[in-house]
Amino acid sequence: MKKRAGLLLAIVALMTLLCVVPIQAKTQVIVWGLNPLQVGSGNKEMIDAFNESHPDIELVPQSTPGTNGYATQDVAKLLAAIASGNPPDVTWLDRFTAAQFASRGALMAIDNYVEMQGFDVNNYYDYTINELRFNGQIWGLPWDTDTRPMYWNKEVFREVGLDPEAPPKTWDDLMLYSEKITRVDENGKFQRIGYIPGYGNTWLYLYGYANGAQFLSEDGRTALLNEPELVEALEYVVSFYESLGGTEKVAAYQSTFQGETNDPFLTGQVGMLVTVNNATQGYARYNPDLDYGSTLPPAPAGKPQTTWSGGWSYAIPRGAKHPAEAFEVIRWLTTEGIKVKEAGAAAYTLQRGSQYHIPFPAAYQPSNDYLVDKYVHAIDNDVIKNAVLGGLNAIEHSKARPVSPVGEVLWVELARANDRAIYGEMSPKQALDYAQRVVQRELDKFWRQFDREN
């Protein structure tokens, strides 16, 4: 029945193709997750540049209905396309889910093409390419990398008598500084908070990695979620909320936060935060005069400061019609394309009237160096330039999420444990015991099937 349905779909697809597309000499590579119509993104410039420089290949960005036009974050669509044997040639993929796709045979390993072309994947930042390795093979090429530095507002530091050039380096200092910055009005309502553990982009990965937690064993078969390092990290988060008067109270304050010009970091409602590095784009646009800095997030005393990164990739689904050409597309996009895209985006930024264009860090190191030279060093505002460089500097100290075929379960269960603990439903240990139980069971199930099939 499945086959018959597939046949039906194939016939419909074929008919559509025959009607719409004239016979062409160029090989068409269908790409999901790249929207040429996204204003100011530079996507269109990038696609045009590819097609001009490749006489034999045509990059065809394809709309995927029901998913905001072009995004493939709605994985259901992609899954169905792969399962039915009619996937795009290239798909945009959140890197931390790559192992989940690869381990179920949903992607094509690209090692052959890498070897054939003598392409050096070591030019991608280690953790970005490593996030795409599973079972000894590479399953895609990394596109970008975010980092999570800590930003602190120097004006606020000055106001409360803290040294504006000395951000907190330890967890204890972070709590201490936060207490100094936090202001409450006569009714007990917050006017300003020094630091909120769950505000910005932190997650348990931030605190866990800072405390040396591993999350997953080396071989990826054992979850390590209720190990002391992670329990302590969650205890710290909980105690932070307690010191502020409880999660409900903080959440109520947080729910009044706004965006853009009224971003709480710009308005001084929050003195310090850890968030993704592209926050500087908004800060530069909405308040180029803000006096602030960026640095690595604090760690427990005596432990190295660290942070974590995510990012996207381009991968070739199993069953892609033109894998060799698809590889050329993803190689070009992640190395050369990203430069063209940033040029397009920069032109738009200037045309819009913003002074500074801050590029998003590329995962491909030579391209990133190029972008930093061209755009970051050109910024004539030292505060902004240093804040951006602080974010870039964090790349060296950053880790990716553990590569796991059950990455999504791990992600959701960690968030769940965090919520249960900060809302006082369970103790940190208890909440993590639960997460451990669920994730380990899922891991066991996965590896049981994996071992059966391999």
Partner: protein, 300 residues
């Protein structure tokens, strides 16, 4: 009797033509509804990640659901809570609007349209709209609460208020029920009211003794459809809260969806779907049995 007459009336060729014309529906139903439903029974006994072949594991999914998945119980509780409040509230408010809009006043159709409109707004658009209504700074609801001198809650941002917020939102669609009650009200012969009035029955008595009993078949229909629909509440939570905060709006179907398409546990999700089917079935049967005691079909 009827059937035989139809068979005689139609020639063989006509029957075939009729079936042929209806065949797109039959084929669509068999291919895209019946077949998936039936296969999901099989999948519910397998480990199935969509991409690989399903692997038979017997009742393991069902055992896991009841013994290993705390989120399953929480989602079940959240869903019960939602059904328990949104269904009776939705029915009473829908009925109330219908009674008011049953009056014979000028341009009544305009008012009816106004109240009916929200129920035809796509749920996704409605959810985005209501996210603004609940905005803790400028949301209409927030301003309304503050206007009467109370402090507004953080609505969707507060685990204690997230479910009540979605229930409030569900009442926005009460106009959908209104249309059905209006039809039911129109069916009640005017003579009953005239007779009652002559006997000296006041407005309340007339409602209590005539309107309500004669409306019970409609109420019963709405109750059953309301329960079936509310148990499957999904879109609001998916769009507005993604199940949070602290799983306060993790509804059953949202948990099911995540298992299917985020964790790729299609076997487990299929098992969850059948358990939900059983739950809804039990409620429907209870309703059906209970209906004997309060639903009156003695109208005609």
């Amino acid at each position: 009797m009827q059937k035989r007459r139809m068979g005689k009336g139609l020639g063989r060729g006509e029957t075939i033509a009729g079936l042929l014309f209806a065949s797109p529906w039959f084929i669509g139903f068999i291919l895209f509804t019946a077949y998936p439903i039936l296969s999901s029974i099989y999948f519910s006994f397998t480990d199935y990640n969509i991409l690989s072949d399903p692997y038979w594991i017997g009742t393991e999914n069902y055992i896991e659901m009841f013994n290993w998945d705390p989120a399953f119980w929480k989602s079940l509780w959240n869903t019960f809570y939602y059904v328990l409040f949104s269904v009776p509230l939705g029915i009473s408010i829908g009925l109330m609007i219908a009674l008011i809009l049953n009056a014979d006043i000028k341009s009544i159709a305009v008012y009816r349209t106004m109240y009916y409109m929200p129920s035809i707004v796509p749920i996704v658009a409605g959810s985005i709209l209501w996210a603004w209504m609940f905005n803790p700074n400028y949301g209409l609801l927030t301003l309304a609460v503050e206007a009467i001198g109370l402090q507004a809650p953080a609505w969707l941002g507060d685990p204690r208020w997230a479910k009540p917020s979605l229930i409030i939102m569900s009442l926005w669609g009460a106009g959908g029920g209104m249309i059905i009650y209006l039809a039911g009200l129109k069916n009640i012969p005017k003579t009953y009211y005239e007779a009652a009035e002559l006997d000296g029955a006041n407005l309340f008595t007339r409602f209590r003794r005539i309107t309500l009993p004669l409306l019970t078949p409609t109420l019963f229909f709405q109750l059953i459809m309301g329960i079936i629909g509310s148990f499957q509440v999904f879109t609001q939570a998916f769009i507005m809260t993604s199940g949070g905060p602290n799983d306060a709006t993790l509804f059953y179907v949202l948990h099911l969806y995540r298992n299917a398409f985020q964790f790729w546990r299609m076997g487990y999700a299929s098992a969850m779907a059948w358990v939900l089917f059983a739950i809804i079935m039990v409620f429907t049967v209870i309703n059906w049995v209970g209906s004997r005691y309060w639903v009156h079909y003695d109208q005609g």
